[in-house]
């Protein structure tokens, strides 16, 4: 079995939820697509355009994000930001993420002790 391929598959599944959480955290301040990609890349998280833009729209459709068109330097840009509902959602997801992280940490500690 190709280990690299398997890593990619699992990473891609993990990323799906992780990216949503990142977006919800990042968009406390309104931002537009290119800026989101650029900023995330600078902190070491690479996201494809084809993944990000449809995701932003889906989150907007679910009213987790809100958007508005602005013209900056004669360029139209669609700015997204988190809605009130999105903030409540983020709070709950963060709790889940912290619990998951703790469980994983405990399991990993136990594994290390047994080694």
């Amino acid at each position: 079995m190709d280990i690299q391929n398997e890593i990619m598959n699992i990473a891609s599944e993990m990323n799906r939820g992780f990216l949503q959480l990142i977006i919800l955290t990042f968009l406390d301040i309104p931002s537009y697509g290119y800026d989101i990609i650029d900023s995330l890349e600078k902190i070491g998280y690479k996201v494809e355009e084809n993944t990000l833009y449809p995701l932003l729209r889906r989150l907007e459709k679910k009213e987790i994000l809100v958007s508005e068109w602005r013209v900056v330097d004669n360029k139209p840009r669609k700015y997204y930001s988190i809605s009130q509902y999105g903030k409540e959602l983020r709070k709950e997801i963060m709790k889940i993420w912290i619990i998951q992280n703790q469980i994983l940490q405990k399991l990993d500690d136990g594994r290390k002790e047994n080694e």
Binding site: Y34, E49, Y53, P54, R57, R77
Partner: protein, 312 residues
Amino acid sequence: MNEKLNEYLNQVKAYLNTSDNKEDIIKELSAVIIEKAEKKYGQITDESISKILSDFGSPAEVAREYSDEQELIDRSFKNYIFMLTNTFFALIVGINLISNVFKISFTNFNPENLFLSILEIIETCFSTYFMLFGIICFLFFMLTKYKIKNIAAFWEYKDLSNFLTVKPPKVGEMISKIIFFMIFTLFVFFGIDAIINLLAKTGLQVIGISDKTIFFVFLFVGLFDLLSYAVKFYRNTELLDIVKGFFDLIVLWFATIKMESFIIADISKEINNGINIGLKVAFIVVTVLVIIELIVSILRYSINKTKNIMKV
């Protein structure tokens, strides 16, 4: 807007299958691509746009990301369904027709009962068409399921503009069709009897033709051809050729049921056989020509339709 970008966005739009606002999606994509090209390459040129677009992926792939749900059959296949179903249907009807002439048909017609024969034709056509449709849908469903989605069509490799141009009807051709039709009509109504009388005068004992159906069938095909050609002056579309082709095939098919009973009631067996063989050959030639013309029309119509979708 840059022409390359415009073309790309039009294609994305054509593939989009979402309840979301398509104009807004395109507007956003356009803004993003332009901004990226400007930031990365300093200016918006064909070259910088091309580089950015190659990172973005094909229009079908981009549109798929925006889709509301997984489609059973990928949107890019939808025109192939019509094209393939009709092409195979035309081929099967044609083969069945020719096999009818040789009496090895896989359909069981009753030449004595016109009503039953027509019902049989309708039933066979429907079941064959829907069976083909089902098989082709299943094929594309499997291709979609296993993500074999980006099959380049053969017309993307070759310049088919000559083949795809729908030729306008010509007055000269219309007149020659009318003249030919008139001569053939006269032959069917008076010519056949005149030939029989002439043969009788030479001493052959000719009683007559037991069934003129086959001549009337050719007449009917000719009349429909004339009418559809006349309609082309008003509205020139390949769809008309497809309807005409299928109509011709069904009429010819009906004729094969009657063919068995066509005999010149002459005592000379050799003449009878000769005439019958000649008619069968003529029948097969007409059938093959109709099928070729029909398949060409189907391909032309489907390819033009696919290309038009791309231009939306």
